[in-house]
Symmetry: C2
Subunit: 344 residues, 2 copies
């Protein structure tokens, strides 16, 4: 594994050019993705559960964009289904039976064997490892316990996840019980991915930045910390991405990941100064910059490379997922610009 | 004016207790507001344009919550109508004819006389000053030029305001022309409010934190700076609130306001350390904490007061608008807790 620039960067080792991939790189902005998605009348969830097609869309960006890592196509909420929750996408995720009461929490199942609970996940990982033939490493992923709980309690996306907050503040004991179950499931789920062949794990905490730094420390961090500590990491790097965490990076670092994902709301140089040299960072181009003309994109890539200032432990990425209306030519251009401008 | 705790705090002068008000304090969480809103079949926009009823809902929180300032009930987008744009709320704001081309920008009107263009605004201000009888000062407000432009170009709310970004990056000259027109309108609008009797001006930059710090400096800050510099401030304090700006407070300070509004994503003590002693701050309780039991609310109020550590120049507020499903009893409790716990 040590020969991959991507893996070396995760461990703050020297690289000959900066590795780059894009969050949501297998997605709707690619006509090739839309073509696979259109095969049959299946839903988004059906695509997640079809190892053949989901592997196909996972590989597309490697060929099209020349990125330095593949990420399995899936959704952070799929492992919640076998906990006993009916999941649908309309198109946003919806759980028909949100977790609100003590009885709801008690009823949640933590499957012993996650490979049996979500068989399509190890299947896509094994298939992808074969198809990638070692060209780039494969990233597996999961939601952070807090972000998963947001959806489980609210039942859907929300501006402020009021139901989750009411439980968190009003019944901290019930919240703790829920979070421990979710964390245990998550741990089994991610270790199963490592077992199946994932070569990096990214933990998405999309809603972790929704709470104040004080509440992050109290209600979010302990569970991610426990999750990361429990992973069978061996030589597998772990990336922790908390959207909206630029004001509390010291806390994010305490979770113990090898790499910290940065959104675009903080300058990368400033973030690295705060975080220190012993942790790698991943980020942080504003996805909207991909709407810009290519000279502007190049200028922004150069600015971010300058901010990193040749420090080891840097993976270029967007600060959030690529958006559906981006012209793929601009994504291709951006990846090439990172490689070209950072080459030693 | 100097006798108000609120005004003193804006200018970093000593106070005998910390002043407090709530963003969106005249709003749907209050049954008294909903009762006025239900009078007749009028829309939200009709309420904004009815000085009698909008003054009534503006005064309600003074009586009900005992807050230290009133804010006129209005919407940041109302002054855009006389620029030649048809505004509707469905319930989010929608402009039927978004600004996209050079011809669209040229067609925008900057009214000479804003008091004639939006007569209901000076009318509500004059009416409120009479009804308040000097009990608390009256805050007028407007959107920051960037946030106004976001809606004007996109035509509605958006996750990433792609149309605005395409113009900003792709045709910076057109963007500049648009922003200069919006800034000039905004300046006339806010000076008209001061003329009519507003005793403080708050500038809302709801979307200013959507861009990277680099783009904020380039595309957002120059216009707010020009706006604030052009205000007939006399003894009128100016508050600048940029949601999501905790990672770039040094830049927000450059805009030149007397007070900087803080959301809850940064600890207040840390924000004050970054900003220094020569500017006041306003914030920053997570609005979701109002879903908590009262002992938790009290604990959070105390924590924020502790973070301020008796520094002059502090106005307590939420980090964003109060949400419709909050129990008014919790808002009343919070205001009282601030007064009680901060009393000298």
């Amino acid at each position: 594994m040590a020969e991959y620039n991507f893996i070396k960067a995760c461990f703050c080792q020297p690289v000959d050019r900066v590795p780059v991939w894009l969050m949501r790189q297998a997605g709707r902005y690619l006509p090739e993705y839309r073509a696979v998605r259109a095969q049959g009348a299946g839903t988004f969830l059906d695509l997640c559960k079809d190892p053949q097609r989901s592997a196909e869309v996972s590989v597309q960006p490697i060929d099209i964009l020349d990125v330095d890592a593949a990420i399995m196509f899936s959704d952070i909420l799929t492992p919640i289904e076998p906990m006993g929750m009916a999941l649908d996408f309309v198109p946003g995720p919806v759980f028909a039976n949100p977790v609100r009461t003590s009885a709801d929490v008690d009823a949640l199942v933590v499957p012993e064997n996650m490979a049996e609970a979500v068989p399509y996940v190890p299947q896509i990982i094994q298939r992808l490892r074969q198809q990638l033939e070692g060209r780039v490493p494969l990233i597996g992923f999961g939601g952070a316990p807090f972000t998963l709980a947001c959806y489980m309690v609210e039942g859907k996306g929300s501006k402020d996840f009021a139901a989750l907050k009411r439980m968190m503040y009003g019944d901290p004991e019930l919240y703790r019980t829920l979070m421990e179950k979710v964390t245990e499931m998550d741990l089994r789920y991610l270790n199963m991915q490592i077992e199946a062949g994932a070569q990096t794990i990214q933990i998405f905490d999309t809603w972790g930045g929704l709470v104040s730094p004080t509440d992050f420390e109290k209600f979010v961090l302990p569970y991610t910390k426990k999750l990361i500590a429990g992973l069978n990491r061996k030589d597998i790097p772990v990336i922790y991405f908390v959207k909206g965490s630029g004001t509390m990076l010291e806390l994010v670092k305490e979770a113990g990941s090898d790499v910290i994902g940065l959104d675009w709301h903080i300058n990368l140089g400033k973030a690295r100064d705060i975080l220190g040299d012993d942790v790698a960072v991943q980020g942080n181009l504003d996805p909207s910059v991909l709407y810009a003309p290519q000279p502007y994109i190049e200028q922004e890539v150069q600015r971010i490379l300058n901010e990193n200032d040749d420090r080891p432990g840097f993976i270029f990425n967007l600060g959030h997922g690529i958006t559906p209306s981006v012209d793929p030519a601009n994504a291709i251009f951006m990846v090439d610009a990172v490689h070209r401008l950072s080459k030693k």
